[in-house]
């Protein structure tokens, strides 16, 4: 098998005639663990021609970050790395990874907050490569670093140089890191999930920046991402990695428009897309990542593939089905003609009941909550800073309704969620639940009827409790079951979220991310609530698993009549699950309406900017008409007028800064808080195309 792969790799993947800038052939990485040898990468080959961008796509556990660390020689000491070639511009990276590191190869990692050293000023960190590799003097290096920051679009680079990481927003930090990676003018840029922890609007800015750099400097880039939309936006070629093996690679548009490998097809089918609202339900890929300690000699996607047959147990090879388009599937010719089997039909809830006839379940009026920073002294000296996280928000949710709440990070959406559950005391405003006022310290009955699913299933489940203990706790707390009933009830809950009964005795660390989130959902449903807040409940999950959890949530709503408030920064997810969408910015509501209404003009300029920033697969040409927001949600705000005025690309004048925008009713149930007249808003081009 290795020799065949080698043979393939020599011609593969589409490097063309010229010698590529980066050449990886038969890269294998394995670790010794207690459970046995984990094969993180299994004969991976790829090549990037000079000046091109290759996207390396995969879900968690695919080994995509391992490729980056192997190129840098920064894998754990326990890792065993083999390759027939690991070359960068003729330099052998396997033998000597140290020389080019930071000098000719720049790296940008994900999550700038944990990548910048919290104890050192940003300027030093950007100038450091110049001091070390270029042996520049301090003054010269700092001057150059300042120029680089300015080139990356950072306003007031001098102040940023002196600042510490915690003083900068996420987008600024990532710009500083890109500046640092480019300081020594490298020939190759490794980008490991460069926008993953950022807001869509900031992500769009960073992608523009990278796109510009590539055009100006002819940089060769390796972009590692789980997000197919981002890859589509800036990559020339894409390589799809699954459990350590390349399953498909080819030119970006061909691969994403007409995916050939069942896994690639599955990934695209599982992706919630704001531009395909009325499309079929999401198609999850069943199952989990295979056990890497015991790699399947045949196709490793076989257990999850709907088209698998006996022949798939044989070793599979990459074959070139079209020029430059390689697929590792022996049935590729037959499989592409077969339709992907649809999941069990998901009942669409509430379809028959028009919303105006629905009884109101949650009614919040003029909710207000501010956060103060600085202590007693700051208050006495008047230097205290007050953030109005939720500023006079009124919101109603009907029985069995699913409402989506979107906005950038820091817009107050999670705070609003907590206020609605009375998990955080409101400063003013009233809350009614099922027609009755909810006091500041609500009775147990309210707690039973209103529940929450948290974002990060890893930290939301007690690691020392079994699944049964986690699920039976609310049953005991609210006296919902006793004795043998508890066991039956736990089983019912496991059935609801489609987990086997045997999971009862497992601990959270024995579950995968998707399974943990199912337990989180089951726990919220244990009390048979009427209202569940899902606060970024699927954000931490892989696309294939996320689709399954979203379908589950939709299905549960249909069967149990639960109302949801779905809080998310991902407008694709919201568009898929919510009947009604609420758009929030800096503590205030900007727009509210049915999903289809909000996703199309007329909409609020902020909604337009959010939609326009979403990297949607197959929407590359959209970039010409793209709206870009400067700054981020923490940018300065005018106290009196519209909170969005400072960043609004369609600001009409001083009116926006001084007068609070009125609610304009665009259609029944659809209202927009903006000064711009409705006909003008309606004439805006659709941000999602088509």
């Amino acid at each position: 098998m290795p020799e065949t792969d080698l043979e393939v790799a020599e011609r593969a993947p589409g490097a063309g005639g010229s010698s590529p800038a980066l050449r990886i052939e038969d890269l294998s990485v394995s670790y010794a663990t207690i459970r046995g040898r984990v094969r993180a990468l299994d004969h991976v080959s790829l090549a990037i021609p000079r000046g091109q961008v290759l996207g390396l796509v995969g879900e968690s556990g695919s080994g995509k970050s391992t490729v980056v660390l192997a190129l840098l020689g920064l894998l754990d000491e326990a890792a065993e790395v083999t390759a027939t070639a690991l070359e960068f511009e003729g330099h052998d990276l396997l033998g000597d990874p140290v020389t080019p590191r930071g000098r000719r190869i720049g790296t940008v990692f994900q999550d700038p907050s944990s990548i910048l050293n919290p104890a050192l000023p940003v300027g030093l960190q950007v100038a450091e490569p110049l001091l070390v590799h270029r042996r520049m003097g301090r003054a010269e290096a700092f001057e150059r670093a300042k120029e680089l920051l300015a080139q990356m679009g950072i306003p007031r680079p001098g102040a940023v140089m002196r600042a510490y990481p915690h003083q900068l927003s996420g987008g600024m930090k990532q710009r500083a890191l890109i500046a640092q990676a480019l300081a020594t003018e490298p020939d190759l840029l490794l980008l490991d999930e460069p926008t993953t922890a950022l807001d869509v609007t900031v992500e769009a800015q960073i992608l523009d920046l990278l796109d510009g750099l590539r055009a100006e400097r002819g940089l060769t880039m390796l972009l590692v991402s789980h997000n197919l939309g981002i890859v589509d936006r800036i990559c020339d070629r894409v390589c799809v990695l699954y459990a350590g093996r390349t399953l498909e690679s080819g030119p970006t548009s061909a691969l994403l428009q007409a995916p050939r490998h069942p896994y690639t097809r599955g990934l695209l089918g599982a992706l919630p897309r704001p531009d395909r609202l009325e499309a079929a339900p999401l198609v999850p890929i069943p199952g989990n990542l295979p056990d890497l300690t015991n790699p399947d000699p045949g196709c490793n996607f076989r257990p999850r593939c709907p088209f698998a047959e006996q022949g798939c147990a044989e070793p599979q090879f990459l074959s070139e089905i079209l020029p430059g388009h390689w697929v590792r599937c022996h049935r590729v010719g037959i499989v592409e003609t077969l339709p992907w089997p649809l999941p069990e039909p998901v009942a669409r809830a509430g379809g028959g009941t028009p919303e105006r006839h629905r009884e109101r379940l949650v009614e919040a009026a003029e909710m207000q909550r501010a956060f103060r920073s600085g202590g007693t002294f700051a208050r006495l000296l008047g230097t205290e800073s007050v953030t109005r996280a939720v500023d006079g928000v009124s919101l109603a949710i009907g029985r069995g309704e699913s409402v989506g709440l979107v906005g950038e990070s820091g817009c107050g959406k999670s705070t609003l969620g907590r206020l609605l559950l009375r998990l955080l005391p409101a400063e003013s405003g009233s809350l009614r639940f099922a027609g009755e006022a909810v006091p500041e310290h609500p009775a147990a009955e309210f707690r039973r009827r209103a529940q929450i699913v948290f974002q990060n299933p890893d930290t939301a489940l007690n690691p020392r409790q079994t699944v049964a203990a986690i699920l039976s706790r609310p049953l005991h707390r609210f006296a919902l079951a006793e004795g043998p009933e508890v066991v039956r009830e736990v089983e019912r809950l496991l059935d609801l979220v489609r987990l086997p009964h045997a999971f009862r005795s497992r601990y959270p660390h024995q579950l995968s991310g998707g399974e943990k989130q199912r337990v989180g959902i089951a726990r919220a449903l244990a009390t048979r609530p009427d209202f569940v807040i899902a606060d970024e409940a699927v954000s931490a999950l892989d696309v294939s698993v996320q689709a399954a959890v979203l379908n589950l949530l939709a299905d549960l709503r249909a069967r149990l009549g639960v109302a949801y408030l779905f809080i998310s920064h991902d407008i694709g997810v919201i568009a898929h699950i919510a009947e009604r969408v609420v758009v929030m910015y800096r503590g205030r509501l900007m727009e509210e309406g049915r999903t289809a209404q909000v996703l199309h003009p007329p909409y609020h300029p902020y909604t337009e900017a959010l939609l326009s920033a979403v990297p949607v697969v197959g929407a590359r040409e959209r970039s010409a008409s793209r709206i870009r927001l400067a700054g981020d949600a923490s940018s300065a705000v005018s106290a009196a007028g519209c909170p969005f005025a400072a960043r609004c690309p369609r600001r009409i004048g001083p009116l926006c800064d001084t007068v609070p925008p009125p609610w304009q009713v665009a259609a029944e149930g659809h209202r927009i808080a903006c000064h711009i007249p409705l006909p003008t808003l309606a004439a805006m081009p659709p941000a999602l195309g088509g």
């Binding site: 080019p100 910048l116 104890a119 050192l120 600042a163 915690h166 700051a378 300065a636």
Partner: protein, 319 residues
């Protein structure tokens, strides 16, 4: 930052006031008559009455406390009863000698503790790291006075390299003689605490070395020396500093024991003497001084903590 400094200073004043009440109270709320406690149970009533008058014990407790505190604030630490001399110069002399002992030990604990921690973290799992860990656990597990007695037996009684006990000033014995008397007590005081600090510095350093910004620093191609000392150590120090401040307190407890074993005329020994002689004014003054030193050590730790943590120095974000 200014607010932080003011807050910490106020807290120190608060701690000292609270401690002064406690120290005063311990002496006066103890069962029985203070004068009897000082003079012994066979004292004549006349002597007791005289002492009570001298100490102002006939006044209400609050008035007594107020007088005592006011005297303290004026720098008057009272009168030693057993020696019939002002307590201040007694304490100052003893404090000076203890400061030499404690200062040297503490400096060694800082250097060896953090150095050993960094060494352990960078040589994790190797034979040298494991040996170091074993020796350190030995020093943590076995109490100071045992090592002190062992050191005296070995270096003084058997090898005759060093004097067993006592103290000689530089003026009397020259630097050599002065150091010879300090060597054993300093070594014994240092060993246990070094082990303590170094275990913590090691785990803190290991945690920092696992962090993503260290990975990023290596990806930048920085030499390992810069990665360790510029990027890692700064972030690993704060927990070590917290422990060093606690250790300053343990050091003071240790000094009482070590000074007694080595018959070293320091503050610890003076306190033991005051207790033995029932010299209450001397005891109160000595305890107040010890409390103040401990509070100041913690204040210094807080400040160095702030210096290492830019979040405390630079609060505002840049827009």
């Amino acid at each position: 930052m200014a607010g932080f400094v003011v807050r910490r200073l106020l807290a120190v004043v608060g701690v000292l006031l609270a401690m002064s009440v406690l120290i005063f109270a311990i002496v006066h709320i103890l069962p029985g008559n203070v004068a009897y406690a000082i003079l012994g149970e066979y004292a004549t009533p006349g002597a007791v009455a005289a002492l009570e008058a001298k100490l102002g014990l006939n006044e209400p407790l609050s008035v007594q406390y107020w007088h005592w505190l006011a005297q303290m604030l004026h720098g008057n630490l009272g009168q030693s009863l057993s020696m019939d001399r002002p307590a201040a110069p007694l304490i100052a002399g003893a404090l000076g000698r203890s400061a030499i002992l404690a200062g040297m030990s503490f400096a060694l604990v800082v250097v060896l503790g953090i150095g050993g921690g960094v060494y352990g973290a960078t040589h994790k799992g190797r034979v040298s790291d494991r040996t170091l860990a074993f020796v350190q656990f030995l020093f943590i597990a076995v109490p100071d006075f045992f090592w002190a007695i062992l050191a005296i037996l070995f270096f003084a009684a058997w090898l005759h390299w060093l004097p067993a006990t006592g103290y000689e000033s530089i003026a009397e014995a020259g630097v050599g003689g002065w150091l010879a008397h300090l060597l054993l007590p300093v070594a014994v005081l240092t060993l246990g605490l070094t082990a303590h600090v170094s275990r913590l510095a090691r785990s803190s350093m290991l945690e920092v070395l696992e962090s993503r910004y260290i990975l990023a620093a290596r990806a930048k191609g920085l030499p390992e020396r810069l990665v360790l000392y510029r990027h890692a150590l700064r972030n690993a120090l704060p927990p070590a500093i917290t422990v060093l401040a606690i250790d300053a307190g343990i050091l003071m407890g240790g000094i009482v024991v070590i000074e007694t074993v080595f018959a070293y005329p320091g503050l610890g020994r003076l306190l033991v003497y005051a207790i033995e002689q029932r010299d209450l004014p001397l005891l109160q003054a000595g305890m107040m001084v010890v409390t103040a030193i401990y509070a100041i050590a913690n204040l210094l730790a807080d400040f160095s903590y702030a210096l290492l943590n830019p979040r405390l120095r630079h609060g505002r974000s840049i827009r």
